[in-house]
């Protein structure tokens, strides 16, 4: 079916077209390919995809129900050149956040230099004093980062938020690709799509590199809160694809600062824990004593250097949205580099003058709670009711530290299969970065989330969002388009289904 340009009243950037009838070069071939399909055929494939997801349990738990995370049939495409720029920006950001965390839980140079008030940290709910004195053997606290990006009205990618606690969603990237290669193999023979299935081995290598030096043959596990967690499927997928045990807190025991898992053959030492349990629930001795999904004594075992907890404890302080406003500073200060990716224009409300200015025209801003994730608590000024704004004004006055104000950005739109036609819907992008201590590797593509409601700007799965397979393709495939031989006569590059034979449950909104 033909895809038409539809302009968006909000002035949002159109990912596929630069003007009516004028497709962006990376999309040209896809448009030609899509032309060959009838709407009914697309509908049938779409239904088949969601049925496959349900049969295979590729779902996430939402309000006690297992739901598939809808996969849109139209992939999102990024050219390799543009991707390379993004990946470098993401890696830079991760390196800066690493340096910041090491500093916050160490010498505190950034405060001494006066570049950031200490109170930003001491007032952050995620500042974790028990994390003090835990030094990771290879200095990595962020083994995995999910840096959320959006593309603004001018086509620039900006960072929306950093997720360096337990970013989730990578299983969708892997599973979406797998589903798409099965449902649309012909598209893949026409495009050189960078593969995504090396993620688990990258993560495994990073976890191995993070192991305590004294561990000769380190044992790595994935720690999950259990089957009721929204992202349980992702935990299963990663454990399987890395070939390590998926454990729950009750499978582990700490004795004299060593961690063991209980097996049918007795206890077995554990050296690296890729944990998908929040700090608060991780160790009932240090944090919430009512936690039954954690492991008592774990934090001190890490402090003693016998086990590595990954991602690090206390990383949440870097996710704080007030801290986010300082990240460009971090890049300059710690790395001596110029930030490659911009933040969205953001205002700190603790400054009285700034606060007054924002409060005076609250309806012109997007207000976000500093420690929210998954779109929770966000108020979009232009769409808010008077009552909402009034309540917000009160909340800000009571605790200005708890909010930031941002310029409303019209997220870029992408044609999306809705009903029996293609319509523009807003999207964002969560690329995933893996840090093994010597290199920050960025998974090509990442998770494109799409807000399925018309005009809807919040893309999270818990808000009824869907996702798109995200392709990074070599631009030369476009440049040489005329010379590309027919699909059947070419060797398949990435057309084959990814090797893994894994199941997929959805990842929800761990972060």
């Amino acid at each position: 079916m033909a895809v038409k340009f539809e302009s968006d009243a909000s002035g949002a950037w159109n990912e596929m077209f630069s003007a009516p009838g004028q497709a962006r070069p990376v999309y040209e071939r896809l448009l030609a390919d899509l032309d060959a399909y009838q709407p009914q055929e697309l509908r049938a494939r779409s239904e088949q995809l969601s049925r496959t997801f349900i049969d295979r349990g590729v779902t996430f738990a939402h309000s006690g129900e297992e739901r598939p995370f809808p996969l849109d049939l139209v992939p999102r495409i990024l050219g390799a050149l543009e991707w390379d720029r993004l990946a470098r920006g993401i890696a830079q950001r991760v390196r800066a956040l690493e340096a910041f965390l090491a500093d916050v839980y160490g010498a505190g140079r950034i405060f001494d230099e006066g570049l950031m008030p200490r109170s930003v940290i001491t007032s952050s709910p995620h500042y974790c004093r028990p994390a003090f004195g835990i030094s990771p053997p290879n200095d990595v606290r962020i083994a995995v980062a999910g840096i959320d990006l959006i593309r603004d009205e001018h086509g620039n990618f900006c960072v929306l938020e950093d997720n360096v606690r337990i970013p989730s969603g990578v299983s969708y990237v892997i599973e979406n690709r797998r589903a798409m290669t099965q449902a649309f193999s012909s598209l893949f023979s026409d495009h050189r799509v960078h593969p995504v299935d090396s993620y688990p081995s990258r993560l495994f290598a990073a976890l191995l590199a993070a192991a305590p030096r004294k561990a000769v043959d380190p044992v790595i596990v994935v720690l999950s809160p259990g089957v009721h967690n929204a992202a349980y499927f992702e935990h299963v997928l990663l454990a399987r694809m890395m070939g390590v045990e998926l454990v729950e807190g009750r499978d582990l025991v700490c004795r004299s600062n060593h961690v063991y898992m209980r097996t049918t053959n007795g206890e077995r030492a554990v050296h690296v824990i890729y944990r998908r349990v929040d700090d608060d629930w991780l160790d009932p001795l240090q944090f919430r004593p009512d936690s039954v999904i954690g492991v008592a004594g774990l934090v001190n075992a890490a402090r003693a250097g016998n086990v590595v907890i990954s991602n690090g404890i206390g990383n949440g302080v870097a996710d704080d949205k007030l801290v986010y406003t300082y990240v460009p500073e971090f890049i300059r200060f710690y790395l001596g580099e110029k930030p490659l990716l911009d933040n969205i224009e953001t205002h700190r409300l603790e400054d009285a003058a700034v606060r007054e200015a924002v409060l005076a025209s609250l309806a012109d801003y997007v207000l976000k709670p500093v420690d929210g994730s998954g779109g929770k608590g966000i108020v979009i000024g232009p769409q808010a009711t008077k009552t909402e704004l009034k309540a917000l004004r009160k909340a800000i006055a009571a605790a200005p530290r708890n909010f930031i104000a941002q310029r409303p950005v019209a997220l870029s739109t992408h044609p999306t299969f809705v009903g029996d036609s293609l319509a523009p819907r807003h999207i964002d992008l969560r690329p995933f970065a893996v840090n093994d201590g010597s290199d920050v590797w960025v998974l090509p593509g990442g998770l494109t989330r799409v807000a399925l409601g018309e005009g809807e700007l919040i893309v999270n799965s818990s808000r009824g969002g869907g996702s798109k397979d995200t392709w990074v393709i070599n631009d030369e495939a476009v440049a040489f388009r005329g010379a590309v031989p027919p699909a059947s006569s070419r060797p398949r590059r990435h057309g084959a289904a990814p090797r893994q034979n894994d199941e997929f449950v959805g990842a929800g909104d761990e972060q």
């Binding site: 009750r250 009932p284 199941e503």
Partner: protein, 312 residues
């Protein structure tokens, strides 16, 4: 392997077998319950409950409610739907271990049950029961064909065989207490899938002793008690850590050996007289083995509540 994982696999084995066996037993009653106009409905239902070891009150029982409890009630772990759900829940917990084909088969089975149930309400339970048997066979096949035959698989097979012994013992007991509402020996053979195998072996279909001996003692028929006991023992031997060259007095194997001993040396011709005693022994053997295996291999903390010490 992780103790919790081993336990999940053991229960997957048990639950799938339970669903299968329950479907077979119910099937052997269905004709009487649904189609026989001269049948005492309440007494037949009572007989079915008693074979399955479910206690019921003295009230009058009817077929619809009985089928609801024994077949469709997903919240009852002894019902067919409940057992399949139990297998599914354990498979979720061991999803990183079992093969994806097993997982998909279990997941789709569970998703399919409500549809099958509403169809069964219109056309009778036989299609539902047939579906369950088919899926159980598929799952058993996938278990053997797509899992490595390592300890995890052995725990699953162990669970399957213990459940099978338990169910065969129950089935026979229905006959032993000479319950006139229980299906006849032939129906039992059919329920066990043993009809042809038995007929090939002996032609005396009216010989109660022969049927009992076949279901208890046959060395080649895979649903016989002795066959299952042998398989269970093989699993236990191989699960045992290799380092233990001297038998450490595994209580599970001891219980198993006692049961095997009793069956091996019995005179088949006198089986029927000793059957009540043997069946009781078998049931308690299954209990003892499960306890011993749990105690030895499935040691893991249940999610525990911690208590805060408040002090100065």
């Amino acid at each position: 392997m992780l103790s919790r994982l081993a336990e999940s696999l053991f229960w997957i084995g048990r639950y799938i077998e339970r669903a299968d066996d329950t479907a077979r037993i119910v099937d052997s009653y269905v004709h009487r319950m649904v189609e026989d106009p001269f049948n005492d409905e309440s007494a037949t239902c009572r007989s079915l409950y008693s074979i399955l070891g479910i206690e019921v009150g003295p009230e009058r029982l009817n077929t619809a409610e009985t089928l609801q409890t024994i077949v469709y009630d997903i919240d009852n772990p002894n019902s067919i739907a409940g057992a399949l759900n139990g297998a599914y829940e354990n498979a979720r917990r061991s999803r990183d271990y079992i093969s994806s084909e097993m997982w998909v088969a279990l997941n789709t089975t569970r998703n399919e049950l409500p549809k099958r149930e509403s169809r069964a309400r219109n056309f009778g339970p036989s299609t539902y029961l047939g579906y369950v048997r088919e899926r159980a066979a598929l799952l058993a096949g996938l278990t053997d064909a797509t899992l490595s035959h390592d300890d995890g698989w052995r725990f699953l097979v162990l669970g399957r065989n213990l459940e099978r012994i338990d169910m065969t013992a129950r089935l026979l007991r229905g006959r032993v207490v000479s319950d006139e509402n229980a299906p006849d020996w032939m129906a039992f053979l059919r329920a066990s899938g043993a009809m042809e195998a038995f007929m090939r072996n002996t032609r005396e279909v009216d010989d109660a002793n022969g049927v009992a001996a076949f279901l208890m003692l046959d060395r080649l028929f895979p649903r016989s008690v002795l066959y299952s006991l042998n398989l269970a023992d093989e699993c236990l031997v191989e699960i045992q850590p290799v380092s233990q060259r001297i038998s450490s007095g595994d209580p599970a194997r001891q219980a198993l050996a006692r049961a095997r001993g009793m069956l091996e040396f019995i005179d088949p011709r006198q089986l029927i007289e000793q059957l009540p005693e043997l069946l009781e022994m078998l049931e308690s053997t299954c209990f003892r083995i499960t306890d011993a295996v749990t105690d030895r291999y499935f040691r893991h903390e249940e999610a525990v509540a911690w208590i805060i010490e408040e002090g100065l």
